[in-house]
């Protein structure tokens, strides 16, 4: 059974149909990079995967749970799906450690001591052990985004969603975040990454998906999509960004 199964997904904002009939099947441990022009629906698709946007039509099944089921417990399903945002969205009134421990402690998955231990391990993993007591405003963008990744990982999700995690960063900080993501991919995390970092997609992705106008126009291995794109729109897009 695939880890993520998307069938006939559509999404409209009023009259504006942003996603049209998206089908997508993602295996456990796969890393999918989603590329495409601005406004093509990449973020919307990603946000449908944890129902930050509710789908207009179609079904999404993650880990056997139909997360598009209106009677399902979406809060429960979301524990299993981490998300990292372009703007980090750290909680500015909390320390780094509190950011990481908030969800597991509030949801009574761990007590504060256990959560603190997990936070320390995660911070070491993202190379920020010494920042546990800092507040987000004291960190650089790259550091904040690594904390955001640690925060999502504290819930021990099976799936991680990334929406342009490096787009708001100064160029010299992009690498440190991509490295953490690469390490996560190597450890077998199932990842869906919306990105403009074609180098990362080429190196880390198992599969690249090109979205345009709300459709998946092309998908394949990085080799196939970057070296030998079949669709004219993919070719045009790649010519512009590469």
């Amino acid at each position: 059974m695939p880890k993520i199964e998307v069938k006939n997904l559509s999404k409209s904002f009023g009259d504006n149909q942003v996603l049209k009939d998206i089908d997508l099947s993602i295996e456990e441990g796969e890393v999918i990079c989603v590329i495409g022009p601005s406004g093509s629906g990449k973020s919307t698709m990603l946000r449908c995967l944890n129902q930050l946007e509710d789908a207009t039509g179609g079904t999404i099944i993650i880990d056997g749970n139909e997360i598009t089921d209106p009677d399902g417990d979406i809060d429960l399903y979301r524990r299993n799906i981490g998300m990292v945002f372009q703007q980090f969205n750290l909680f500015p009134h909390m320390t780094v450690r509190e950011n990481i421990t908030l969800a597991p402690v509030t949801l009574k998955i761990m007590n504060q001591d256990e959560a603190n231990k997990v936070a320390d391990e995660l911070l070491e993993r993202v190379g920020l052990s010494e920042k546990a007591d800092a507040v987000p405003a004291e960190l650089s963008g790259g550091q904040q985004q690594r904390v955001a990744i640690a925060r999502a990982l504290a819930m021990h999700p099976d799936v991680m969603l990334f929406d342009e995690p490096t787009s708001a960063l100064d160029p010299e900080m992009v690498g440190e975040v991509l490295n953490v993501m690469k390490q996560l991919a190597e450890e077998g995390m199932t990842m869906v990454v919306v990105t403009h970092e074609m180098g990362f997609a080429r190196e880390v992705a198992d599969r690249v998906i090109f979205i345009d106008g709300g459709y998946i126009v092309e998908e394949g291995t990085p080799e196939e999509v970057f070296k030998n794109p079949q669709n004219e729109r993919t070719q045009n897009f790649l010519n512009m960004v590469l």
Binding site: D75, R78, M83, N89, L90, F91, L102, A103, L107
Partner: protein, 219 residues
């Protein structure tokens, strides 16, 4: 009689009036805090019915003069129901409904000034809407709300003087009653004004202090 003698002579009555003013205001503000939070949360609720109810309440209060509200509660409701309210009860109801509606707007504004991504990040971790509100949104919103809420306390304290129209012997009404006896209108109103001014200045200073504290805590 100079102003100090006048003050000394009417001291017990003035203090009693001030006591009524302050206690009416404090009780009303305590209830208004609950109303403001409740209706403020309803104003931003994803639920249309909750939003609708809260909007009706806020609009009704904001769209009518407080003096009409006081008359309606003190004279109108007993007239329709036969249930008599004391002036202090009617006064507290008027003030807390009034302050509650304005506070609800302040709470709404505070919550909406927190970036949308904060709620999304909290929900994406599996927190419920309520938990996200409590742990992530409200703590940030409160910092933004403090100056306006203190300002609302000051307005409510001043608005309590309107309750003299329903015969509540708060500070303003006390001043009027004293003047009816001694005709010292000029000096008496100066005294009454100062007696409002002092607690309001204390509140203002307090809020500036809290604001500074919050600013330091944020940096």
């Amino acid at each position: 009689m100079n102003i100090f003698e006048l003050f000394a002579q009417s001291f017990p009555r003035l203090m009693s009036g001030l006591g009524v003013t302050l206690s009416t205001t404090l009780i009303s503000l305590a209830i208004a805090a609950v109303l403001g939070l409740l209706f403020g949360l309803m104003l931003v609720s994803p639920n249309k019915v909750f939003r609708g109810i809260a909007h009706v309440y806020v609009d009704l209060i904001r769209g009518t003069p407080i003096i009409v509200q006081a008359f309606f509660i003190y004279f109108g409701i007993p007239n329709a129901t036969g249930m008599r309210l004391t002036a202090i009860t009617a006064g507290v109801i008027t003030l807390c409904l009034n302050a509650g509606a304005y506070s609800a707007e302040i709470v709404r504004g505070g919550i909406q000034s927190v970036p949308k991504g904060q709620m999304e990040a909290a929900r994406s971790l599996g927190l419920s809407y309520g938990a996200a509100m409590r742990k992530v949104i409200l703590p940030q919103a409160v910092r933004i709300m403090v100056p306006s809420l203190v300002n609302q306390c000051i307005i409510t304290l001043k608005d309590s003087s309107i309750l003299s129209v329903i015969g509540l012997t708060e500070l303003t009404q006390t001043g009027r009653l004293i003047i009816a006896n001694n005709f010292e209108s000029f000096k008496m109103w100066i005294i009454v004004a100062i007696m409002y001014f002092i607690p309001i200045m204390i509140l203002t200073k307090l809020s500036q202090w809290v604001e500074r504290k919050l600013k330091i805590a944020k940096n």
